[in-house]
């Protein structure tokens, strides 16, 4: 695959309140999984909304988002509908995104029937997919209403529904945040398995660095509306390129060890519109910040197969993991 399936370049989104995304660039190849990690105000949800054309009405976006070579912002009519069946989305709270007065079967088959598939055929496909996500007795489930299913089960239904149109890209916005941890593990395993089987690309948004690394080949970290690091997931934790990634990983308590105190990052996460126009948004909280970090706009540099938005990246190479080990 030479050209990426999804290519976001220089995406900047502004709202009346201020800028929420600043020069965001990502690329995702067919069948690849990319994790998008960030805290509040990082812009991770807004990025996904931009990609799926669900930005709020007052948002102004510049830059380019190309899916399979076509500019997403320019789509309309049948082309937009085709895009929607090629790019599916799973949200954090399944109950907010499903009509409570319609049966599961009706909900799941709606997109297929709109494409002209017969009802019986659509229900059969839906039932098959329910079994794949681990929901037994599919026929009975299809006749049930959303309130009869638990949160975890409903989220699996949403995943099955998303996969029914055989999308090439799945956008998952914190799909497991509202679930119990054991259910989360189950749903993550299902997502991973189905993705690999279908060769589907996945953009997985979460606030949990380790969760993203679990099923994504690469992980992108966002802070204050910008992408600050993109790295192979298996080396991200032990060899991060950006001080924020390192600090984020170190701030999390370790389940295998009791430490007297956690290495907390001073201050609080900034939103994009609180970030200063020049210099690195993380500089005030960064223990490695120098004068150069506060003045000019920080470009993205390539380093060891990853990308980082840190002017001191080369100098800090190898030090970040040691300090925050």
């Amino acid at each position: 695959m030479s050209s990426p399936l999804l290519e976001v370049s220089g995406l900047t989104v502004t709202l009346p309140a201020g800028t929420v995304l600043r020069d965001v660039s990502l690329s995702l190849g067919a069948g690849e999984a990319l994790g998008l990690v960030g805290e509040s105000g990082s812009g991770k949800s807004m990025t996904v909304k931009a990609i799926s054309r669900l930005l709020p009405p007052k948002a102004a976006a510049t830059g380019s988002i190309r899916f399979d070579g076509t500019e997403v912002g320019a789509l309309s009519g049948p082309a937009l509908r085709a895009f929607r069946s090629g790019v599916a989305m799973v949200f954090q709270d399944p109950r907010a995104h499903i009509n409570p007065v319609r049966r599961i079967g009706d909900f799941m088959t709606e997109a297929l029937r709109a494409q002209g598939v017969r009802r019986g055929e659509a229900l059969a496909r839906a039932g098959a997919l329910l079994s794949e996500v681990g929901i037994g007795d599919a026929a009975a489930r299809l006749r049930q209403f959303p309130h009869e299913l638990s949160g975890g089960m409903l989220q699996r239904v949403m995943i099955a529904a998303a996969l029914l149109t055989e999308p090439r890209l799945l956008l998952a916005d914190e799909p497991t945040t509202a679930l119990d941890v054991t259910t989360q593990a189950e749903v993550m395993a299902i997502l991973d398995e189905l993705r690999r089987e279908r060769g589907m690309a996945l953009l997985f948004i979460t606030h949990d660095l380790e969760l993203a690394a679990a099923i994504c080949d690469r992980t992108a970290v966002m802070y204050a509306g910008q992408v600050v690091e993109v790295r192979q997931s298996d080396v991200l934790h032990d060899d991060p390129l950006h001080p924020y990634t390192a600090a984020l990983a170190a701030a999390r308590p370790d389940i295998s060890r009791t430490e007297p105190r956690l290495r907390a990052i001073p201050g609080r996460p900034l939103s994009a519109f609180e970030a200063p126009p020049g210099g690195c948004a993380f500089a005030p909280r960064c223990e490695f910040a120098e004068e150069a970090c506060r003045t000019a706009a920080i470009p993205v540099t390539e380093l060891d197969g990853g990308l980082t938005r840190c002017v001191r990246a080369t100098a800090l190479r190898g030090q970040l993991a040691v300090t925050h080990g």
Binding site: L15, S40, S271, E274
Partner: protein
Amino acid sequence: MTASALTGRPESRSRRVPLAGALRGTGVAGHASAVIIVLAAFVAVFGRWLAPYDTVDPNPVLAFVGPVGGHPLGFDFEGRDVLSRLLAGAQTSMIGPLAVVAISLLIGIALAVASAWRRGAVDATVSAGLGIVFAFPGILLAVLSTAVFGAGLPAAAIALAVAYIPYVARVLRGAALKERSQPYVAALEVQGVSGAAICVKHIIPNLSSLIVAQATIMFGWAMVDLAAISFLGLGVQAPTPDWGVMISENAVGIQQGYPLPALAAGACVIIVVIAFNVLGERLLERSGS
């Protein structure tokens, strides 16, 4: 999960909301309505002294004479200056609704919050009782009450207030139930703060924007209802100037080709009622209900 990018930033507005801030978000219509209401209130307080001419003594010679110099709205059916009567009449036209709103709010809030706090049997009983009262239209209750207590503003106003109580209680009970189920109320309970203190110091203040909005809307309705009651002769009695009474007593002029006095009084009622309605609705929207 924590706030999104849009709301994660803490606001830094000052806590002292200036008067203009009280109207923020109500739009041009809201501001215009507020101006009308303030004017009406001003006239209600000072109308008697602002009226250029006598408002009570009849002067049959001038009955229904049209506008002349110094009398821009002409004379009513008893030869009194219409403008003066309107200015003086603002007071009873607005005091009645004020009493209705005040009484129904006081009792309605108490019932709503008590039901929401105690829930269970208390709530069920209060709701049933209010349901019965709700079945009676306000005007019907006013007619009944004047039949028992005699015609006059106090009887009519109290009857109307009783009719409005169920409406207030229903609206506020829902909002109070929602507040009551918030964790901060549970935190106060765990502290050992008494139920009454929680209701009065915490729940009711958090309903204040809803209460103000409802009160404003209800003022408009009460004004129409009381004007109608006075029009029927059951409320304010002639010769007291009152817009509702003025419509009724000058109605005969419309057929005789002298519509101005009745229409002028009607217009006053309509303008003020619309102002209250518009502002009330805007405030309601803003309070997020």
